[in-house]
């Protein structure tokens, strides 16, 4: 009996761990099919072409195999970068306020607010983006004489993603800020600096490793988010888009586009986008981790 139970729980753990292999293997297997198979007479898609082309499909659907995701990669990275640019300061400053400046009650209230923000499903953020921000962006752009595609734009995607990354950034940064050794702070105060100076010049730099981890997590989420931005991006079929008010498309929105009514290569190519997405996330993570190590060393010197 004991042996059976022990074996059962061991097998459960083994099965749980095996899913990551299943995910990676099967997404890769389906994703490389367009590059190596004949695609029902269309001929194999060229991989280099796929990751460099700036038009989603050069030619008609079901006739051409000239798919391109180069602009999607650029858009995805650009949007994630802009999101981090806006949400990182917001999140870190909020965390600093909660951890060091706010009173006990305000801090607790804000923490609950951040928890709730984290619990709201991404589709709801997408809905608010589409229902509330798209008209605002459309009208604002119009008042500056810019015609937008109903407000669908890079800006809308960045706003929605900013909403979604703030809770992640705030929660993890707050923990990092709290974990900074109090003696560091006291030493700084003893040297005659003000509290605020200490917070910004001593506490934040000391917490930067944790803040970096928060940024890595948030950017991973921004790169992989799908349904929410698909409602506000506008599904541009070529690019890349660097203007804030032009419509755009990312790796994930392209995966969702036209899902309902398509088959063959036009469906299978989504798996290839999946591989590209995983690679983009891995490379971004790797680069940010290298940067984190660098910055960590810089301060130690």
């Amino acid at each position: 009996m004991n042996v059976v139970v022990k074996r059962l729980v061991f097998l459960s753990a083994l099965l749980s761990a095996s899913f990551i292999i299943i995910v990676v293997v099967f997404v890769i297997l389906s994703g490389i099919k367009p590059f190596i198979s004949d695609n029902e007479g269309l001929g194999p898609v060229s991989f280099i072409g796929f990751i460099t082309r700036t038009i989603w499909l050069d030619g008609p659907t079901f006739v051409s195999n000239m798919y391109g995701a180069g602009y999607l990669i650029a858009n995805t990275l650009y949007i994630a970068f802009l999101t981090l640019l806006v949400s990182l300061p917001l999140g870190v400053l909020t965390a600093l306020f909660i951890a060091k400046i706010a009173g006990k009650r305000t801090g607790a209230l804000l923490r609950s607010i951040v928890e709730l923000l984290a619990a709201i499903p991404s589709i709801v953020y997408g809905l608010v983006g589409a229902g509330l921000f798209l008209p605002v962006i459309y009208n604002t752009a119009l008042s500056f004489g810019i015609q937008t595609n109903g407000g669908n734009s890079t800006l809308a995607a960045v706003i929605v993603l900013t909403f979604m990354s703030i809770p992640t950034l705030t929660t993890i940064s707050e923990v990092a800020i709290r974990n900074v050794d109090l003696s560091l702070e006291e030493a700084s105060l003893a040297l005659g600096t003000s509290k605020t100076q200490t917070h910004f010049n001593v506490v934040l730099p000391a917490a930067k490793s944790g803040i970096f981890s928060a940024a890595i997590l948030a950017i991973g989420r921004a790169l992989g988010e799908a349904t929410a931005i698909s409602l506000v991006a506008g599904n541009a079929l070529s690019g890349p888009t660097f203007s804030l008010f032009n419509r755009t498309a990312t790796l994930t929105t392209a995966m969702l586009q036209g899902m309902k009514e398509t088959t063959g290569l036009d469906y299978d190519i989504r798996f290839s986008l999946g591989i590209v997405l995983i690679i983009v996330i891995l490379i971004t993570n790797f680069a940010l981790n290298m940067l984190k190590k660098r910055v960590g060393k810089m301060h130690a010197q």
Partner: protein, 397 residues
């Protein structure tokens, strides 16, 4: 010099306050928008009615004797004394004029209309739309003539030939049922798998290379975007369910398997934390009494970690309700009224996506669904918090 520092300090401080205010306003904006644009549609009818609009060509059941009906008190619509029904003019979502049933008396013949094409009884319910009524010996009462004219013709004593009645649709019953199916099926698979894995890792596993590999593999699952899980499900779970004759394509079964994989890392970690928080004294006391380690785990450790397990369950339910990207791939985007686990269906979250990604987007209904989702999330969150409090108390005993 001192003054300059003060100004600088205050500037920086107000920056943090400004950031905190913006974060707080984000929550306010979300709730405000969802509430203002979604609340008006929220009703019990919405929760229990079909999504698809259904049109019925019907006629009166001749076998029913009609009497004169009393007009209900406070009736502001136009009332037919012969048929016991009141109608009012209204507008549908596309701003077209329609005639809506405002009230039906319990014995009204409109409660048991006979379908002309199929042999079934249709009951016209309040909120339903009457498109037109044609008579044997007078002109047809049409929508554009208004409710008053329709009532006048009804009470004119002519024989009714045909009533075209439309059940308005737009309900979310199907999506609610699909969501419940998905939650049930997912928990049935995910809870045992997750809890057993956590038990192995926390109670039995020795610190070997294999254990560390298992742990890191499970942790890596967290970083994968849910849309990639959707892709995996299409190439693994959909063929798998087809193989075992559970479904022939998109299905809630496959959706539940996908959600199981998505939930595992968080489920295992939360369970492990709650197991780890059970004091070691308990284990030692149990072992000292002669129980073996399996008995100790299942009879002493697990019952004491129940609050943590509940927390994990509630978090999982929240995640299932909120998931959309992966489910679009495994369960499809077609809203159904009759839901079977062996077929595709939309959960509430995917229903929002379907409403918003078709032209024209139905922001109102989508917001109503979002309002329901937010309410559930709020309840789950509060429950988890209360559990955590209870949990702390238990730990301090």
């Amino acid at each position: 010099m001192h003054n300059k520092r003060k100004i600088q300090d205050n500037l920086l401080k107000s920056l943090t306050i400004g950031a905190a205010l913006m974060t707080a306003s984000a929550l306010f904006i979300v709730f405000y928008f969802v509430f203002t644009s979604g609340f008006s549609l929220l009703s019990f009818d919405l929760l229990v009615s079909d999504y698809k609009t259904e049109q019925y060509n019907t006629t009166l059941d001749d076998t029913i004797e009609t009497t004169m009906f009393e007009e209900p008190e406070g009736n502001e619509a136009f009332f037919s004394q012969i048929y016991g029904i009141s109608l009012k003019d209204a507008e549908n979502k596309d701003a077209e004029a329609i005639i809506v049933i405002d009230y039906i008396a319990p014995e009204s013949p409109f409660n048991t209309l006979k379908s002309i094409n199929e042999n079934e009884t249709v009951n016209a319910s309040e909120g339903g739309v009457i498109t037109r009524i044609s008579f044997e010996n007078t002109s047809t009462a049409l929508t554009r003539e208004g409710a008053e004219s329709m009532i006048n013709k009804l009470d004119g004593g002519h024989t009714i030939r045909e009533i075209i009645f439309v059940e308005p649709g737009g309900g979310i019953r199907g999506s609610i049922i699909a969501t419940l199916y998905l939650i049930g099926l997912t928990l049935v698979m995910a809870l045992p798998l997750g809890i057993f894995s956590a038990i192995y890792l926390n109670e039995f596993a020795k610190d070997t290379r294999l254990t560390r590999t298992i742990r890191s593999f499970i942790d890596t699952l967290t970083g994968i975007p849910s849309i990639v899980y959707g892709l995996m499900a299409v190439s693994v779970f959909i063929p798998l369910t087809a193989r075992f004759n559970m479904a022939s394509g998109l299905s809630i079964y496959a959706g539940a398997m996908t959600m199981t994989v998505i939930l595992l890392p968080v489920l295992i970690r939360t369970t492990e934390e709650s197991l780890a928080s059970v004091p070691n004294d308990y284990r030692e006391a149990s072992l000292a009494l002669g129980a073996n380690d399996v008995q100790t785990t299942f009879k002493v450790v697990l019952p004491n970690a129940i609050a943590g397990l509940l927390t994990a369950t509630f978090l999982s339910i929240g995640r299932i309700i909120g998931e959309s990207a992966a489910l679009i791939f495994v369960m499809g985007t077609a809203v159904r009224d009759s839901v079977y686990p062996s077929q595709g269906a939309t959960t509430l979250a995917v229903h929002i996506w379907t409403l918003m990604s078709t032209e024209p987007a139905n922001v109102e209904l989508a917001s109503t669904i979002a309002l329901i989702i937010l309410t559930i999330v709020l309840i789950l969150n509060t429950t988890v918090k209360l559990l955590a409090k209870k949990f702390d108390k238990l730990g301090n005993r």
